[in-house]
């Protein structure tokens, strides 16, 4: 009648060993699984080119330069300064009326020669 307590004790030991084994396995799993995930995540990020220094205009080239686009400019507007569209004036090269200083009409025009 004394064997039953011994058997119960052995069963308890087995349960304890199994519990420890499971806990250890999960612990180890977490320990090693986490860095792997991190590495994978880093590897999946898109390749970023090396950072280049910001492009700055040379002082002798671009400062104070106005850039505008006429109506025919086909490209996307990428002006360095806010654009101000010049109001175009009619050419009156061939008539004798108007003209003279002080007005808004040119005396003559320059064009490709």
């Amino acid at each position: 009648m004394t064997a039953k307590p011994n058997a119960r004790n052995w069963s308890d030991v087995q349960t304890a060993i199994a519990t420890v084994a499971i806990v250890t396995t999960l612990g180890m799993w977490n320990l090693f699984a986490a860095p792997t995930k991190t590495v994978t995540a880093q590897a999946e990020q898109p390749t970023v080119p090396p950072t280049e220094p910001p492009v700055t205009s040379e002082p002798t080239l671009m400062p104070q330069v106005k850039i505008m686009f006429t109506q025919t400019a086909p490209q996307t507007v990428t002006a360095q300064q806010p654009q101000t569209k010049k109001k175009k004036k009619k050419n009156n090269n061939n008539n004798g009326g108007g003209g003279g200083g002080g007005g808004s009409v040119s005396v003559t025009q320059t064009q490709s020669s």
């Binding site: 686009f69 025919t72 175009k88 002080g102 025009q109």
Partner: protein, 323 residues
């Protein structure tokens, strides 16, 4: 060929109106439309004679007239040829332009421009030509290869060199005409876009000069206010044609012997005189936008407006003074 008198803004006082009377004469010469103007009240005596001056100069300097002095000079090699004072002066102006532009603007490209198809006045040049491709032209030879003797005013062309003064001749002619007209009052001469200005107008104001929009030739893209100076524009928007299906224009790169390949459509330059303006505009056009901007900013007496093929406009810093 009557002299046209322009009257100014009616809202001005009578005194101002009198000072703003502008006498102008338009005529055709050197393959271009010309304008001569004097800002004065009474009819100037010299203005009607301007077309005669240009005819006289064209007979000396034209490469399209087979009996011109230049055409005769181009047929004689390895022999000293005595030349007129006009041709001598223009040759010196061309040499200055060549020196100023480090050889980019030179009159020794006659064979190259003919090879490109520009072998007759542009008025009668067919817009499409075909010809047997010739060997690629080599780089031009500098004017220093030409022997000069100032005491006898003789020029000796070596074999293989012909002269085409082109825009230099027009700029020189505009400058000479302006110098003659300014005796009678503030004067302006426009030789096909190369403009010489003697000084402020009679009322002290600057002259208003428009820059033609190369995309819309009936409109001005900018207006400048100028006193004593020269202004000129070079570009590939007007004098161009196709040869064997390839677009050609009249500005030759001396280092390739071919029409210049450039990202610029037109370049307008303001300079102390019209001959310098003409040479600078052509040099910048050949250099292209990036190097051309460096060039213009390195010359503090020059101002420029670049118009690129895509319509982008770029102003040099000094040009702000004239807006």
């Amino acid at each position: 060929m009557a002299v046209v008198v322009e009257e100014a803004d009616q809202s001005q006082s009578l005194k101002h109106r009198v000072h703003k009377m502008l006498q102008r004469l338009e005529f055709h010469a050197m393959g271009c439309e010309m304008l001569a103007a004097i800002d004065r009240e009474a009819g100037p005596l010299t203005l009607p004679h301007v077309p005669e001056w240009f005819e006289e100069w064209e007979q000396v300097l034209s490469r399209f007239r087979y009996d011109s002095e230049l055409a005769r000079l181009n047929q004689i090699h390895e022999q000293p040829v005595h030349v007129s004072e006009t041709l001598w002066d223009v040759f010196r102006a061309a040499r200055k332009a060549e020196q100023m532009t480090d050889g980019l603007v030179t009159p020794t490209l006659l064979d190259a421009i003919i090879e490109a198809g520009y072998d007759r006045p542009f008025d009668v040049l067919p817009h499409q030509t075909t010809s047997i491709p010739a060997p690629v032209m080599t780089a031009s030879r500098p004017l220093t290869a030409i022997a000069l003797k100032a005491s006898t005013r003789t020029i000796t062309l070596p074999f293989g060199i012909g002269l085409d003064f082109g825009g230099v001749a027009k700029g020189w002619a505009a400058h000479q005409a302006m110098k003659r007209l300014q005796v009678e009052g503030p004067a302006l001469v426009n030789a096909g876009g190369d403009i010489a200005i003697s000084g402020p107008r009679a009322d002290g104001n600057p002259w208003q000069i428009g820059i033609t929009d190369p995309f819309y030739p009936d409109e001005e893209i900018e207006t400048l206010h100028l006193n004593a100076c020269g202004i000129a524009t070079s570009g590939k928007d007007r004098r161009r044609w196709t040869r064997n299906g390839i677009l050609q224009h009249h500005i030759i790169d001396p280092f390739t012997g071919q029409p210049a390949e450039t990202d610029l459509l037109t370049v307008t330059v303001v300079a102390p005189n019209v001959m310098e303006a003409e040479a600078a505009a052509k040099a910048i056009f050949i250099l292209g936008g990036r190097v051309g901007l460096e060039w213009i900013e390195a010359h503090p007496n020059f101002a420029a407006l670049f118009i690129f093929d895509n319509g982008q406009m770029l102003y040099s810093r000094k040009l702000e003074e004239y807006l």
